[in-house]
């Protein structure tokens, strides 16, 4: 039994290319030049019911496109998918009763109305009994600590408060699966933490499965058991978050600063040089091959040290490493 099963999913977009200027516009009008953009190229994965899975990748990697195919918003170019027993783009409406969605950049709450009005409207949209909806709202209000916000017009809520209400709204109809696309985008650290807490709580209390996309590794690290790393429309890594960390946390990162200038070919035995600046360098080494002790001794031998920081890489760094191993230059993860 799986909640989501995806096999060889492909989505191509056709875009029109326009040369600059009026001449280009006219030419595009008469003889449009088209270009195919491969947003998703053959993605396959599975997800068990009640699982918490994170989809991570840079902007334009194909995360959102995949989620949108899985909700039935987009028709795929090729491939098969099964979500809770439905083919999303064929049984969109049947599937919609069973899943909840939050698109961080596309609010679903009515802007001028208090959230509770949208909640009741959603009750009608999902054809729920009024009494049942009231109970459900009371339950969610407590779980999400939003009871005091429900009567306020949404336009007067802060972004963090609004997103909590958005997630609550997506749970009105007790879905089996929650699909979240960038739920934490634009939030500050505290608000992010609260959203993560509530999502985790709903997963534990109701056993709702969560598939989450984010370009913030922190979301995945705090929430997910399993991570799927995607770039340029293909899965480049998928494993348990703990395994990911175990495999990559064997490395340490060193930031070093000296009182005098360092040579541009600065390097130590058994240590990888990531970056060399004028007065310092950024290094990485594997503790299994090179002891910390030796690295510090070597660093001290190179000049008068001003500062040394040795740290574990963040998940963000880990993922960057994966991208690099994938042979892809990434500006920002």
């Amino acid at each position: 039994m799986t909640a989501i099963q995806v096999e060889g999913l492909v989505k191509d977009f056709e875009t029109r290319v326009k040369q600059p200027g009026l001449k280009g516009s006219l030419r595009a009008l008469v003889q449009p030049e088209k270009r195919i953009v491969h947003a998703v190229r053959s993605i396959s994965f599975e997800m068990a019911p009640g699982e918490l899975v994170g989809f991570i990748g840079p902007n334009g990697a194909g995360k959102s496109t995949t989620i949108k195919i899985l909700t039935g918003i987009l028709h795929p170019t090729r491939g098969a998918a099964n979500v809770l027993g439905f083919v999303p783009w064929q049984d969109r409406r049947k599937l919609a009763y069973r899943i909840g969605t939050v698109f961080g950049q596309r609010p679903q709450l009515w802007y001028h109305l208090p959230a509770i009005d949208t909640f009741h409207l959603f009750g009608k949209i999902y054809e729920r009994d009024d009494v049942e909806v009231k109970k459900r709202i009371a339950f969610l209000a407590e779980a999400f600590e939003i009871g005091h916000l429900l009567e306020t017009p949404v336009r007067k809520l802060s972004l963090g408060q609004r997103i909590r209400c958005e997630v609550a709204a997506s749970l009105i109809h007790q879905p089996n699966l929650l699909l979240l696309d960038e739920p934490s985008i634009g939030l500050d650290v505290v608000a992010k933490q609260r959203i993560r807490d509530t999502i985790r709580q709903m997963n534990q209390v109701e056993g709702v499965g969560v598939l989450l996309t984010s370009h913030d590794a922190g979301d995945i690290e705090a929430l997910c058991k399993r991570v799927i790393v995607i770039n340029h429309g293909t899965i480049i890594y998928q494993d348990r978050v703990s395994a990911l960390k175990r495999n990559y946390l064997t490395t340490k990162q060193v930031d070093v600063r000296y009182a005098e200038e360092v040579p541009p070919d600065f390097a130590l035995a058994g240590v990888e040089t990531l970056k060399v600046g004028r007065y310092g360098a950024k290094l990485r080494f594997d503790v299994r091959a090179t002891p910390v002790e030796r690295v510090i001794a070597d660093l001290a031998g190179r000049g008068s040290l001003l500062d040394v920081t040795i740290s574990d890489p963040s998940l963000e760094e880990v993922i960057r490493t994966i991208y690099q191993a994938d042979g892809v230059a990434v500006a920002a993860a």
Binding site: F13, V37, A39, G60, S64, L74, F103, K124, I125
Partner: protein, 261 residues
Amino acid sequence: MIREMRFLLALWKANLLSAMEYRVSFILQVLGMMLNNAAYFVFWFIFFERFESVRGWGLVDMFVLFGIVAASFGLGVFLFGNIRFLADMIAEGRMDYYLSLPRPVLLHSLASRSTISGLGDFIYGLISFALAGQYSPDAVLRFALGVVVGTTVLVAFLTIAQSLAFWIGSASMIAMQASNAIVTFSLYPLTLFDGTAKLILFTILPAAFIGSVPAEFVRAFSWEQLAQMSLAAVGLLALAIWVFQRGLRRYESGSAIQVQV
């Protein structure tokens, strides 16, 4: 059907609640639009003061015509307010929301917004019809039917125009001009036009069914016009739904915005 009706009622209630957040603006918009229409109608008062009738149409007929058009337009944009923004919603990927909920996408998206001034148009339409002085029950019934047909044809036509966005990207300008054109033409007696112009007003730009045909139908019952109107309303509605559904398959969501060449 009943399920969708119940859902529509909830949606319209939410629209109304939204509008009521700004009570004064609500009343001003409704009254303003009524006065606005009245100001335009002064033209016909002056016109018929001097000419009495043009091609078989007099002041009373014009009251009925304005009644049908204003009530149809008003009802259309009040109940299906997104009919004016559909092209932008498609181009900007704002259909995601409707696609992720278990309701018919076209119906849901159109009814999710209410143009308040439309209520002013609608009330003005009723007043205009009342001024025509045709109070027999069957005339009132024919007027009501005419408004339903006018609203359906208008909403269906605009849906098709706005759905062009699925194929050509930004269609809001074309849709706006199509809207202006169909309303302008529907406000004049059909007998003014001949040959090709008339053919266009029955087909590509079906203004005849929003104005003159229902207005003549109110004046006197005729099976032929009833058949024409029913056929136009059902046919155009089916066509609009078909075009929209075809378009949805090409829908690119917001991802297309990120794909910059």
